[in-house]
Amino acid sequence: MRALGLVTIIIVLCTPLRTLAQPSDTVNFEHYVFTAHPLDGGDGVFSMGAALTILPQPLTEYPTPAPMVDLHWRLGLPLQTSIYGRAGSNIATTLANMGLMWSFSFGRASVGVGVSEMYMYGNITYVDGFNTVQHRWATYPMVAASWSFPAFTVSGRFEVEYMTSQVRTIADQTVTTAQDQVNGGSLTLAIEQPFWKNTHVSMGVTLNYSRNPYQAWFLFNTFRDKMFYPELFVGFML
């Protein structure tokens, strides 16, 4: 099945490749959240939507959807830099992430590098039998690239997750369960485009390859294997 997915990708990538080279006289430089295209200083963009992670079967016994309210934002700064961030919550897991990116464009393409810091708070003390809280700090070095088309922009973002601390508390027992380790990485692919009149939408998928993803903190994962956690997202530009 994995082979089928890969072969399909190769087929669809290769077959219409010639159209890639066709010039376009109008290029879409709309200000989007995931694009690496630099923002003018002071310009901001904000998207609000939802993310849905499918927690993998080895961990949850059955592929389990974990939804989350998902906010993304980006604010242009001088010197082609911008700060970007994310906030999300599904009550059991709440996170906030902020980072700095430097990027530049050449023609339709944009490339950026950045780094962000995330704090994650997990709390399921309200569930009977789970007197459990978690705090996590992680750093995400990132490279991003995007390609602007007349009607939409495609962006890719590769991040590595370096977990600086993970502390779990059960009742009055607090244990540091992970510290200073590479927890995995992710590739985010987003397509951002106008949807209806002037309402723009971003949608895509984050392919997480992680040992201990934030969405599954309360499952007390003990496998050393890294697992694949796809996360679908959609957001509307406000």
Binding site: G5, T15, P16, I191
Partner: protein
Amino acid sequence: MKNITLVLAALVLCLNGCVSELTPVVYPTVDYETVISTTTPLTLEQRAQMNGIYIMQEGRSTFGDTVAVRWDGEAMSIYTVKSVSFFYVRGGMRTDSARFVGYWRAVQGPETGEVSLGILASEGGKELAEGKGNGVGLTLRGTITSPGSSRPNTLVLKKIKALANRTRGFEIIGHRGGGRNSDRLGKSENSIELMLFASQLGATACEIDVYGTSDGVPVVFHDPTFTPRTVQGAYLLGDISNYSLRQIRGFVRLVNGEQLPTLEEALMEVVDKSTIRTIWLDNKDSRVVDEILAIHQRVMDHAASKKRTIRILFGIPTTEIYDAYMKSPLKGTAPVLCELDQASVRASNAAVWAPRFTDGLQSDVVAQMHKEGRDVYCWTMDDPGFILRFLTEGDFDGFCTNYPTLLAALFYTRKDLK
């Protein structure tokens, strides 16, 4: 433009196609017969002499400083905290030395390899052959193979003292018969094969799950429904209670190919063929409570006829099972393990209270339960940090775990147990 839309669609397609599967474990093929046929089996006294805490003189980087060595039946196991590994080796004495072969497996990952160990006459073999001493100083020396390593690595272990224990006793309870399917033990969870192997993994007890078929037969199975996680076979969908035992036997197998066992078959096999001393029946179907209690009686009669000491606990995990048990004409015929509140524990006169570990140590309640003559088992402990805390700061009589290997390693090698 179209190529981009295609790429996105293909990635979504790929996304679903690449849903996570853990790396399969390929166990080495070990030639036990050659060694067994050229050695003499160890006596019970010799096995006891070998049991103990060993320091790793070589192999520390993989398995840590200290490990626990414990014989169970014809096989010797080694349990390590670092790498969370178990060794399964068999062999025996050759005059005044010993020779063992087998395999090791790191249970939280896919790593496995062959093991070859021996005891030289000058490193404790002579004393072992003569049955002298307590085994301290005895040295196991040999090699292991590891994935990614072209040459075998040297392993040297030296016994420093006896295994730690606990005055009140302690049960290392293997969840789902000894581990989950995702632990890739080569035997399906809740299979007879895994229950018989559980003691090699370090378990002294097993927790098994019980559901009823549509024709009222209690079977050992964890989930309420058939899924690819638990069974092979595409056609039995939905609740296990939708299907008769005949249909189940006809159309599905457990994920490693075993027959889905009835409760009675499983308990009889454990009584006859294992050293497991406690079985916790995690009952999940209130329709078959009476039948489970009847099976308990038959199995205990069988155990008595074989002079086998075993405790089979009737588990009460939910109020539905509690209500069915309290109404059963066979109430009181089996020792009860109750996961509910203290009032329910007392009302059902449970022999064991079993709280979830995520509720914390609950030291006052545990002490009270002990005063009332009840044991307290905690579930399901898999994190080494929390296991250590609960072992040293709590006063539990057993933990249910997916990693009996880890719990055994921590329990037997700890210094500051209550």
